[in-house]
């Protein structure tokens, strides 16, 4: 990636005209992205004493929706009752604020870099319907696993990893192991 970037930089004027104005800008160098992510993560810990996360907030939103749709059911399922039982407001949580922020930040970066576009990203040999079904099923598996592991890739692997939690490293290697183990069998989805 950096090689490509290095080849591009000497002649930005020469390259600029052929590029269509609406063409998305390239992604940033992964190491630069990683350093930025590390600084954001550090600031989160420095200011709030906590790391980053996403799936915990989803649990808060799900519990809040459930409490509106089926309040008595929410009060009877221990997991949701602890989040949104009785008069407890599940949506007024720091993690939900972070979730909203994450989406705004993502949209802003997408807008600036011309990537804010309604589209479907899929492997070359898979139908759109298949990709959508797999995204939903994969999301479901991911959501279930994230709650079982008490955190997702950001909350458990990234945040826990930065403060050297043993469980977070064990979790991280399990995620990679699970994905690599299955990758060959589902290669039609992506390659």
């Amino acid at each position: 990636m950096s090689q490509a970037a290095a080849n591009e930089t000497p002649s930005p004027q020469a390259k600029a005209p052929p590029r269509a104005p609406k063409e998305p800008r390239p992604y940033i160098n992964p190491y630069v992205g990683g350093v930025l992510l590390g600084i954001v993560l550090f600031l989160a810990f420095y200011i709030t004493g906590n790391g980053l996360g996403a799936s915990g907030a989803v649990a808060h939103v799900v519990a809040a929706v459930l409490a509106t749709v089926a309040p008595s059911h929410t009060n009877h399922v221990a997991y949701f009752a602890s989040l949104a039982g009785g008069y407890k407001s599940s949506i007024a949580d720091a993690s939900v604020a972070m979730l909203v922020g994450t989406m705004i930040g993502g949209a802003l970066s997408g807008l600036v870099n011309r990537r804010l576009k309604l589209e479907l990203r899929k492997g070359p040999h898979v139908t759109a319907a298949m990709r959508l079904a797999m995204a939903f099923v994969g999301g479901g598996i991911m959501g279930y696993g994230a709650r079982l592991a008490r955190g997702c890739t950001s909350g458990q692997a990234l945040s826990g990893g930065a403060v050297l939690s043993v469980g977070s490293f064990a979790f991280m290697f399990a995620v990679f192991a699970g994905a690599y183990a299955l990758a060959w069998f589902v290669r039609r989805l992506w390659t």
């Binding site: 992510l37 519990a63 221990a78 989406m103 970066s109 990203r121 399990a174």
Partner: protein, 434 residues
């Protein structure tokens, strides 16, 4: 000292704004790194594009170096930083499940939010899937609750596990990450661009070499500087803590301790720092004895800090002096809800009384002398060891006249005291996935 106590402004606009801004920076970084594209994420597992590994591990080692640099400089209090507690097997099982979801769905929860926010339809469906999965988990977790709570190891860091200083672990982690990046670069060239195994294995990009040198240097400074010792930590918190000691805010009347021991909604832990002989003569029911020299030992600190949220810990010696020394150590180590029993065991026995056939008052010199003469060792088998308890513990009985002491059950007369215990909660996993 950071981190800031945001719980005190919980619910205010500023509070939510802080978390939203952190989220925005997080979302923008993920998007700019290409994490909104499922194909780029999935490519990680076909070794053609190792962006996920590079971004994640660069993020981890950058954040870890900055965090531990701050703690070694005394800018950040690591004891107040949330470390995800380790539940080993549920974590590993959940991780494997998530790996399966990752390769099928092409996202993880955080990246799918970014994909959805940049209007990627597969991202939106993935988010809907995550919500469904979370809902299903909530509905079914009751059927495997023992497993979900199994292999709990508390706040357990790599340096606790390896028995190495934090800085050394950090250097090792950085070196491991750099080795992984090197492997990732080779994998991308072989599997991504189709290069043959004949290219030069010497990294040539000076930015990469410079960056690697910088992070190794940062981690090495942390390793050389070391993390603050307990006495250094006490010096940092001295201003607040010395005032608490001077105002006697942390000295709790035995009556209040007994009251809390009998309160079913509280977890009371009593740590006795006297000699084993004194402990055997008499101790408060359920007290744990530890030598003052052992109180800073890692195994003991782990045990005290691993106590469930809502635990109040009382320290006791014959007088107050040793208990106060223990207080300084445990407080420096970050133990919350920590108090000293006012006047120690001597005052305890004065307040609740002990059967005269077991012990009688005496005069003795020294701040830590036991002011009672024991004719026999009763341990906790005397009503005064657990005043006001309706429990039927086997008690040591004497031939001598019946105790006038306020003992168990109906004989208990509650002494008057000014309550001092204020319960403080541990830092909650705000924002985190926990």
């Amino acid at each position: 000292m950071a981190p800031y106590d945001l719980a005190s402004i919980s619910g205010s606009v500023t509070y939510y704004l802080v978390f939203s801004l952190i989220g925005m920076a997080f979302g923008a970084t993920l998007e700019a790194s290409g994490f909104g594209d499922s194909r780029k994420l999935a490519a990680q597992f076909y070794l053609t594009d190792m962006t996920v590994l590079k971004v994640m591990f660069t993020g981890i080692i950058t954040a870890a170096t900055l965090i531990f640099l701050s703690t070694s400089l005394g800018l950040l209090d690591f004891e107040r930083v949330w470390v995800n507690p380790t539940y080993l097997w549920p974590g590993i099982t959940g991780g494997l499940v998530m790996g399966v979801g990752f390769i099928i769905g092409g996202f993880c929860p955080g990246t799918s939010l970014v994909a959805a926010s940049t209007l990627k339809i597969d991202g939106m469906l993935f988010v809907a899937g995550v919500a469904t999965g979370v809902w299903l988990f909530g509905e079914t977790v009751d059927s495997f609750l023992p497993f979900f709570h199994s292999s709990f190891m508390g706040r357990f860091t790599l340096s606790d596990w390896l028995g190495l200083p934090t800085g050394v672990v950090l250097v090792l982690l950085v070196l491991m990450a750099l080795a992984m990046f090197y492997g990732a670069e080779i994998a991308e060239r072989v599997f991504g661009k189709g290069d043959k195994w004949g290219f030069s294995l010497v990294p040539s990009n000076r930015w990469k070499l410079g960056g690697a040198a910088a992070i190794v240097a940062g981690a090495s400074i942390v390793a050389l500087k070391g993390q603050p010792t307990l006495s250094a930590r006490w010096a940092q918190m001295a201003a607040v803590e010395d005032a608490k000691l001077a105002n006697r805010e942390i000295y709790v009347h035995p009556g209040e301790v007994a009251d809390l021991m009998n309160n079913a909604s509280m977890t009371v832990s009593v740590i006795d720092v006297r000699s084993e002989a004194d402990y055997n003569l008499f101790h408060i029911a359920g007290a744990t004895r530890v030598d003052l020299t052992q109180i800073a030992a890692p195994w003991f600190l782990r045990r005290v800090k691993g106590a469930p949220d809502g635990t109040v810990t009382f320290l006791v010696s014959n007088g107050e002096q040793d208990a106060m020394e223990a207080y300084k150590i445990l407080r420096s180590a970050g133990v919350l809800n920590l108090y000293v029993i006012e006047g120690g065991i001597n005052h305890w026995l004065d307040v609740f009384g002990i059967n005269p056939c077991v012990a009688t008052p005496r005069t003795a010199a020294g701040p830590e002398a036991l002011m009672y003469d024991f004719s026999r060792a009763v341990g906790q088998h005397d009503p005064s060891a657990h005043p006001g308890c309706p429990c039927k513990e086997p008690l040591v009985t004497c031939e001598a006249s019946k105790s006038t002491a306020s003992g168990h059950g109906e004989h208990y007369v509650k002494p008057s005291f000014t309550p001092k215990v204020k319960m403080q909660k541990k830092a909650k996993p705000h924002g985190g996935c926990g």
